[in-house]
Amino acid sequence: MRRLLATSLVLMAALAPIEGTARADDGARRPILLVVAANSPVNNLSLDDVKRIFGGGAIDFRPLNLPPGAAERVDLDRILFSRTPDEVARYWLDRKIRGQGGPPRVIPSGHLVARIVARVPGTIGYVAETALPAGTKALRVNGLSPADPRYPLVMQPRPSP
């Protein structure tokens, strides 16, 4: 009986989301949200705009990146540029050598990205969280909201750890 109780507690701990984030990868669709400040006049971007912003070709946004290897970043790079993490690293090094500028600033976590976006005008980030802090909003892409099944920025299903 005690063993069963202990097992249940371990199960609880394993199933409970960490820091309030729904991380359990149950195969559910996880859109990558593009977040900007709530008072930004922008509500929608085309996928080409997003490519330009996160590919170094836009001056009207200040993009924020997640660390290399972050699942959201890997998936966003794959969707936008059809490149693997190594290829993306090469892409940014090559741009620097050409004198075309470096990659977006790296912020350690999606939570911080959202909080920074809320405070620093002109910044744009991406998160795979369903909860956004006050002062931010998620953008539509190609006119589609993240809830729309046709929304193009969706994370690849990954096996649960």
């Binding site: 009986m1 069963l4 109780l5 097992t7 249940s8 507690l9 199960l11 609880m12 199933l15 409970a16 989301p17 820091e19 309030g20 984030t21 729904a22 359990a24 085309s46 080409d48 330009r52 070709g57 836009a58 001056i59 009207d60 059809s82 190594d86 690293a89 090469r90 090094l93 090559d94 620097k96 050598i97 050409r98 004198g99 500028g101 470096g102 600033r105 912020i107 350690p108 976590s109 939570h111 911080l112 959202a114 909080r115 920074i116 405070r119 620093v120 969280e129 369903t130 909860a131 956004l132 802090p133 006050a134």
Partner: protein
Amino acid sequence: MPDRLIARLSLALAAVSCAAGQARAQDPAGAEADGVDEAELVDQLQKLDEQDSQLHIYGFADFTYTTFLMPRSSKWFDAYFSRYPTFAVGNVNLYLEKKVAPRWNSLIEFRLLYLPNGTETVSTSTGEVAQMDTAVLDYQDKAEVLHWGGISIERAWVEYQAHPLLTIRAGQWITPYGIWNIDHGSPVLIGIRRPFVIGLSLFPKNQTGLEAYGTHTFGDKSLTYHLTVSNGRGPVDTYLDLDYNKGIGGRLVFEAPWLDEFRIGVSGYTGTYTRRARSYNLALNAVQTTNDVTEGYRELSLAADLKLRSGPFLLNAEAISNQRVYQDDGRPRDFQTVSGQLPDSHSYGTYVTGAVRLPWLGLMPYVQGELLRTQWPTVPNIWVAGTGLNMRASPSVTLKVQLQRAWVPDSVSLVVPDEPVTMLDAQAAWVF
């Protein structure tokens, strides 16, 4: 029975806990749920500001082994090349990049050189080749000989991003034309040796002046323009223009997501090259000065480039043309021609590189073909065919090996042998 009840209660507790967690995750307030405390946020905001105002120092370098696969008796060794296999550090380029103010960016790139040590000059009177030796005694240690070298400023500019359609750049910049000249860094380039059509500088490699550029996007396609005005070419064009004619240039690039990458560009440049000689003569208690043109020509350069990428396949191609028309008083002497003067010229050429990125170890075998046609009577044609292997060992390290064979047919030069040149190069290039 109690055991089963407790088990059910435990599972119910787990489910409630999980649901509560998800509810927290979907809490629109989010501020407390995301685990970010104010101190961490302030720290990140500070770092963001610091990153913007930081001076970024980086660069690239390469190390090359070269050997010529020709008989040791080849006349090329007497005329041009070293017959001895050689190691060399070719490029050590440093970049200083800074966002100097909102919308203002600055970039300085300079190359550290071993030159002028070893530079050869040919005496026109005796034909003797003299090699410069920069050996000096190190003042810190008189027993040690030190060879001093030089610095070449590759670019130094500041730019203002006024609008996506307009960025204005001022300073010395790399001429926006083609693929090779813009890539220019050995870790980025596929091959090891510059194609002749690039090395011959049918376009100026870099210029000093103003450049305006911008990009207009329409859907998934884009059109980028560059307009340039500069001192043009000259013996000291980085800081002194020796004529009133500014060099004017432009470039248009169309990009589309056809295949995986499709980019086509056209470029043009026109300018006047002027070299002057100043002299002071004392006559009748007065100083007479002259400032005569010793070399002057107008030039028109045109180029087109194409870059295609489809899956693992890559194709780079450039075609470049340069016409030079000498001024009557600026035509230099040329002892290799019958007239004794350098004729007007039209040089043009092309290169094509085809490569395929293999799924293993970042390997990319490639082939490259080149053609250069000049109107120099001594070397009218150069053909080059080559193959190589480019390996991106890591994003910042590129290893290459390349075999090339060059032909100089129809040469009437007394110093250009009538036999092909075969070169083998191996290179490690890295970004730091």
